[in-house]
Symmetry: C2
Subunit: 201 residues, 2 copies
């Protein structure tokens, strides 16, 4: 319910989320590249970081926005027009995933240009890490890519190996969020610490 806002004068501000916007999971959002018209909406997400998947420099207006809101930018440049080599793509997605699942970076927004292929591939790999069955991963990918769905992306997601990544990451998740039967206990403890710190500011 992070988006119910009220202007100081009592009038409600109409907000425009970026195209292809959606919540992926707690503290994780996805979209196309936000335009200035979307900034008032993006503000309501209270982002701590952005994962940007294009090789182009971050647009100047967006750069100003994230500077003034203390948002950290993580850039993993993946070519959009020509197909990147699988090993380049694998490295970028693996790097992005490590940032993505580290809750210290949350809330985080993932975006490329249109929020279809690069963003869809990253979210697809995250879903594999979350143990979603492949048909559900594909359904979600196609949901956002629509008629632009690319079989190469889907093959990439299918063959992406999460086992190695999962092992490397378990210690991190465990420390900061907990998983399995210990998930809730650790999560609550951690949240208590964070929340009291903020409340006492």
């Amino acid at each position: 319910m992070g988006c119910i806002v009220e202007a100081d004068d009592g009038d409600d501000v109409v907000m425009e989320p970026p195209a292809n916007f959606s919540m992926v999971d707690e503290g994780i959002y996805r979209s196309s590249c936000p335009r200035p018209a979307n900034f008032s909406f993006i503000e309501t997400l209270n982002l701590r970081s952005i994962i940007y998947l294009c090789p182009e420099p971050y647009p100047e207006e967006n750069m100003e926005f994230i500077r003034s809101h203390n948002i950290t930018l993580f850039q993993f440049g993946i070519e959009g027009k020509t197909e990147p080599s699988v090993s380049t793509l694998k490295d970028a997605i693996r790097g992005a995933l490590k940032i993505l699942i580290d809750v210290r970076n949350h809330p985080v927004l993932i975006h490329c240009k249109r929020g279809k292929h690069r963003t869809g591939s990253l979210v697809g790999c995250l879903r594999k890490l979350q143990n979603w069955c492949l048909s559900s991963v594909y359904e979600e990918y196609q949901h956002f890519a629509g008629i632009k769905s690319r079989p190469t992306d889907m093959r990439f997601i299918e063959t992406f190996d999460v086992v190695c990544l999962r092992q490397c990451l378990h210690s991190l998740i465990f420390q900061y969020q907990g998983y399995g039967s210990k998930k809730r206990r650790l999560l609550y403890k951690e949240e208590n610490v964070q929340k009291s710190r903020i409340a006492s500011v």
Copy 2:
């Protein structure tokens, strides 16, 4: 990150979210009607309630699932095949919205049969309450309804009056979650109370 689970024997459980599943906002999910194959996934959401938008009795297997997981069912029967009268629909959506935005009912899953029209109409009205501009509300509706998008649903969403509802609900949101400039402070306080309670169990 609520879905990273690990089986006790170390093997990862492959999970199948229901078709048309998505996170709407913090603590709010949407989907088609979950089938037993989806129950292990639904478990990871730790639902407190379900908003069911069909007039048919809740399927027996689903009823057993929610009973064993202490999930409260809120049913607002909206006809799926014949078009319900606007006033019937308005009453159902208004009732469902009141349940939906009350964080005491979160995490909550909204579903009808296929997660397209009835669920899409409810989420569309929620987005209006969240001050989303109409074109973004439509984009999201069409995202899930696809080629089955119904102009009558979109007209309903457009004409649905959230001003009255917003006034009625402000006191509730304010009390339980806060809004505007007071949102975070109250949210943190409330969470602290809840979390300490859970942590001490």
